[in-house]
Amino acid sequence: MRHLLSAADLSRDDAILILDTAGELGRVTDRAVKKLPTLRGRTVVNLFFEDSTRTRISFEAAAKRLSADVITFSAKGSSVSKGESLKDTALTLEAMGADAVIVRHEASGAPHRLAHSGWIDCAVVNAGDGTHEHPTQALLDAFTLRHHLSGGEGALDGRRIVIVGDVLHSRVARSNVLLLHALGASVTLVAPPTLMPVGVDTWPCQVSYDLDDALPGADAVMMLRVQRERMNAAFFPSTHEYSRRYGLDTRRAALLADDGIVLHPGPMNRGMEITADVADGSRSVIVEQVTNGVNVRMAVLYLILGGRAETDVWEMSA
């Protein structure tokens, strides 16, 4: 694994390896010394062209726990606001000797461009590109689901996951559908027809427009944020009507399987796609998702920067 650009790049075995690694690395969090020397001397650049708090902090914490040096670069207050292109920014990073670039960009495909243009030689991790993908979010969701539904081991075979809300603008939904499908789960997307992307019928999932119909017996429901900052048209009549038809309240949460859980990638619009009762309720694993995010990103950085061995000889000098 050289880059992590899309959840589609991950086979079932790749995904399980990342989740297993994250599980072991999570134990470091419980120790007195929450740091590993593994990436000492490596430089990780956080390249954020779009606002993000939790993803940037999560990657930063992950890189620092592995002893990498972290340079954070956000578009505001940088040369990007003076009109510097992605290419020139990339060349600057290359000249600084970055080993990995974590990139978030408002344009879908920007991480792919960065990885395959030949501008830079380092590893590229997609931290969210436009409405395309957000693979580490999908990995941390899968980690959280696996912890609760499969005892923290193996895959998610036969589990039924419902993803609800603004699928059209959601990179989280796309990455999750691909990854959860690879892990053997059955995914149902629920959204108003106006918020369902064109071509969703080619995704490996079911599609429904009725939340009450999709929820009964599901093992987990993932609520997506309504991304008003990306909306330049009227996708639904009113906030009230949206939350009445597609919001998760206590009554709907009770339709889940007995040990069913509630996820949200954050940041939440409380009272819109999810009520405060459910967000803070016993089924909610939303805070846990944040903790798991650091562990999963540590695993990704370790596996990517560790790279493939130069030989496939598995000899060790004990």
């Binding site: 690395l25 120790r31 590993l36 061995a309 130069e310």
Partner: protein, 189 residues
């Protein structure tokens, strides 16, 4: 961690010779258990930590043997040193194994690290680093089933099952019932 045999590949016929069989290994475990007890004047404060992967079953056997001798169980755990290796750039990332610290912890304890083969000493160096991130033992000792020489660091074992002089291009292969289905140590090449 001594399956160095893959390196040799298909280089024609090998002269494999068995240097320890199952009964020998059982005797070695018993002797090391006695030596640990003798040096520590009894089992109190001892924590046995096996280095992944084949150090772990050895550690469990030594701990069980000490338990039989003294009538009280000693805490036993496992240590994965993958994240502490100094050869990540050369050999790449590899899957992690379980690190399991006994509930009593390692602070102020006498920790006995256990591994199957002592060779360059780099694994033990990594294990010492890993251990110091978990806690602060009163002292750390090292027990190995086989010492094959060729140290690259100033590290020595406190308890050695068998010293086996080898050349660099030989491979010492330890097989243990828990991992490989049988107990034996062979020198290949």
């Amino acid at each position: 961690m001594a399956h160095a045999d893959a390196r040799r590949g298909a280089q024609g016929p090998r002269a494999d010779s068995r240097v320890l069989d199952a009964a020998d290994i059982a005797r070695v475990i018993g002797r090391i258990a006695h030596e640990i007890l003798e040096r520590s004047h009894g089992p109190s404060d001892i924590v046995i930590m096996g280095i992944q992967t084949r150090g772990v079953p050895l550690a469990q056997r030594i701990a069980a043997r000490i338990g039989e001798i003294e009538g009280t169980p000693v805490p036993v755990g496992s240590l994965d040193i993958t994240m502490y290796r100094d050869d990540l750039r050369l050999r790449g990332a590899r899957p992690l194994e379980v690190t399991d610290v006994p509930d009593v912890g390692v602070d102020n304890r006498v920790v006995v690290l256990v591994d199957d083969v002592l060779y360059s000493g780099r694994t033990v160096r990594a294990a010492l680093d890993a251990l110091s991130d978990i806690g602060r033992p009163r002292s750390v000792q090292l027990a190995v089933l086989v010492d094959r020489g060729h140290r690259e660091l100033p590290i020595r074992a406190d308890y050695v099952g068998k010293n086996i002089p080898t050349s660099h291009d030989q491979a010492v292969r330890v097989r243990l019932a828990e991992v490989d289905g049988l107990d034996e140590v062979t020198v290949e090449g």
